[in-house]
């Protein structure tokens, strides 16, 4: 398991390459997700997102969730990289990658990890645009998806 908070831009492809290098012969599936900061949102142009976190606690909570997801889906490995601080439009915010023997558990694990990150990971997000800053909180959809995963 890898859980990393990144105060500066990272390359999802480079991380994926490292992951693939380390994989074992019993690994048949690598599912992944990269979330990017979009240049527009429901409220207009977006220049950047600013992600606050709770140093120490945030890492610990993500590790706890990741350990739960690994066990639930019997993964070979799970990697989570998450930006903190200012993220410019177009940059990657998050990478989740799951390795497993077969495809179904890897898909389920990545989707579940993302659902947890949206509602249960200690981050607080502001969107910066021409009209100032706006807090982004989980949507009803986000909470509904989160509820689908037994804990």
């Amino acid at each position: 398991m890898t859980v990393l908070l990144c105060p500066a831009p990272f390359s999802p492809e480079r991380e994926m390459a490292l992951l693939a290098q380390g994989k074992t012969g019993d690994c048949g599936a690598l599912a992944s997700f990269v979330g990017y900061c979009r240049a527009t949102s429901a409220s207009g142009a977006v220049e950047a997102l600013v992600l606050d976190h709770y140093p120490g606690f945030t890492e610990k909570e993500i590790e706890r969730i990741a350990a739960h997801v690994i066990e639930r889906h019997q993964l070979i490995d799970l990697h989570v990289l998450h930006r903190v601080g200012a993220v410019a439009a177009g940059e990657a915010i998050v990478l989740v990658a799951a390795l497993s023997a077969h495809r179904a558990p890897s898909f389920a694990a990545v989707a579940e990890m993302m659902d947890y990150l949206k509602t249960d990971a200690p981050f607080w997000k502001r969107e910066l645009g021409p009209s100032g800053a706006r807090w982004i909180e989980p949507t009803a959809d986000d909470y509904a998806r989160r509820q689908e995963h037994a804990r």
Binding site: G35, L51, D52, Y54, G56, F57, K60, I62, H82, I93, V94, M114, L117, K118, T119, D120, A121, P122, F123, W124, K125, W135, I136, E137, P138, D142
Partner: protein
């Protein structure tokens, strides 16, 4: 000395991200700490009582507002979390 932290919208409501204080010995639970903070700043008190606010004492989430806050080193009040 207890460190009190505010995250997300609560940071705006508190006008600060962090404060250090000596909590009165009489305060036993998280709910009592929240009321004490609200007595000093009613707007903040209202924000802390909003639905979705979570509290961690010494970096452990509290399951209820009746959780013990006495002797805490660090109490964090958090508006709804959202990563990803």
């Amino acid at each position: 000395m207890t460190k009190i932290l505010f995250f997300g919208r609560l940071r705006d409501a508190a006008g600060l991200a962090e404060l250090s204080c000596c909590l009165p010995q009489s305060l036993r639970t998280v709910a009592e700490v929240r009321q004490w903070l609200g007595a000093r700043d009613p707007n903040l008190g209202q924000a802390l009582a909003a639905p979705g606010v979570r509290v961690a004492v010494d970096q452990t989430f509290c399951a209820s507002e009746q959780a013990c806050a006495a002797g805490a080193q660090e109490i964090a009040f958090m508006s709804p979390l959202s990563g990803g």
